[in-house]
Amino acid sequence: MKFVRPASVEEAVQVLASAPGRARVLAGGTDLVTLLADRGADVVVDVKRIPGLGDLVADHGGVTIGATVTMRDLEPLAGHRRLAAVVDGARVVGAPQTRRRATAVGNVCRASPAGDTLPALLTLSATATVVGTGGMRAIGLSEFFRSPGVTALADSELVTSLNIPAAGGAAAYQRLTYRTSLDLAVVGVAVAVEVADGIIVDARVGLGGVGPTPLLAHQTADVLVGTDTEDPDALADVLVEAGRVAAHECTPRDDVRGTAAYRTRAVSVLVGRVARTALARTDTHDVA
């Protein structure tokens, strides 16, 4: 295995293109190091010292998360009521040791169905900025995840950043695990809402752990839109209905973390809970 530490994005792309399919990008390594212990690679491309990739820029609700920004680095975004959903996910990845090393972009590129930042990034309409031998392109995250561990990236492509567009409202993410730390999500749910005059005018729901990729539950989101949040009974009914619809939008499988039936039930409960957290956050003011 050849270890390369390029000084620029262009150089990194060139190295990746020189060994198609046999070169791997190394960010925090929290997934890759154990993966390569089993499978190996011809070339490992360490991007951690490429200038600019560590930038985290947040303004007016939009944010750019560079490729080497760690889960821990995202913590300051917690004060922002929409971006807090991404931080909710970042905060539960592994343990403190993991979060100081693991990157958000690595979480996206790993494309685990249960990756903890992915449902929130999906609901916030994040795009990945990608550079390859053919130049730069943007890929919406809803097109990015193909199947477990498989993304829309070509062999020579590198994600340089994630971009979340500015928008109003608030969002939240929660997951179900058996153990608080060092456990992967059985299911994870993110909800983003926008409220005007007490009415939910826009909603997006992201689900993890319930299919081959994290996904957007469009019908569930549609159930939420139009709800009068100031009528507690109506809200309670809608949240139950949203959970019921979410259960239908899942295609979970049985595995060691849970049966399909258990996951479906868990999602339907979490949707209501997370929606309430997101709604509560619409009342708080941004500090970011």
Binding site: V4, E11, L26, T98
Partner: protein, 165 residues
């Protein structure tokens, strides 16, 4: 064509507990193996090798992380502190005293990892951390013997002592 930054020759220069040395390592060499076998720094322990137990925790350029998930080649020009180096610092000495006083060590295999986590994290806890804050700090370190209670107690006392409680 080899780029000037190509480390396939894997010459790494790393400072370990204040001692700098350069050597050649295979690119697949993990930092944990490099420390233990190439540098004789046996304080970090092999537990799981998958980032789950924290026995291999070291401080790399100021960041406490699992050395079983890092390649030695990534660390060229870096500085690593293991528990052996940290336990001679003022906070390290205090931490060692509190761990001993609380009876927080049984077989000891987890202790160097806990010490690194505690010494590098206690400063952020303030003088009177909650139990939840301490549990969160320690959540990446597994102990199969102590039941954690004496370790938590040691951190509580240490936080009061070093953060002026």
């Amino acid at each position: 064509m080899m780029s000037p930054n190509d480390l396939s020759a894997t010459e790494v220069s790393v400072s370990v507990d204040g001692h700098a040395a350069a050597s050649r390592v295979p690119s697949t060499r993990l930092l944990l193996d490099y420390l233990r076998e190439d540098r004789g720094a046996t304080a970090p322990k092999w537990g799981c090798g998958t980032g789950d137990c924290g026995a291999c925790t070291v401080v790399l350029d100021g960041v406490a992380l699992d050395s079983c998930l890092v390649y030695a080649a990534e660390c060229d020009g870096s500085s690593v502190m293991t528990s052996a180096g940290l336990e001679t610092t003022p906070v390290g000495i205090a931490a060692t005293e509190e761990l001993l006083a609380a009876g927080a060590v049984q077989c000891g295999i987890c202790t160097p990892g806990f010490l690194v986590t505690i010494v590098s994290g206690v400063g952020d806890l303030g003088p009177s951390p909650t139990r939840e804050q301490i549990v969160e700090l320690l959540s990446g370190n597994v102990c199969r013997c102590t039941g954690y209670l004496p370790i938590i107690e040691a951190v509580q006392r240490l936080a009061a002592r070093v953060n002026g409680g």
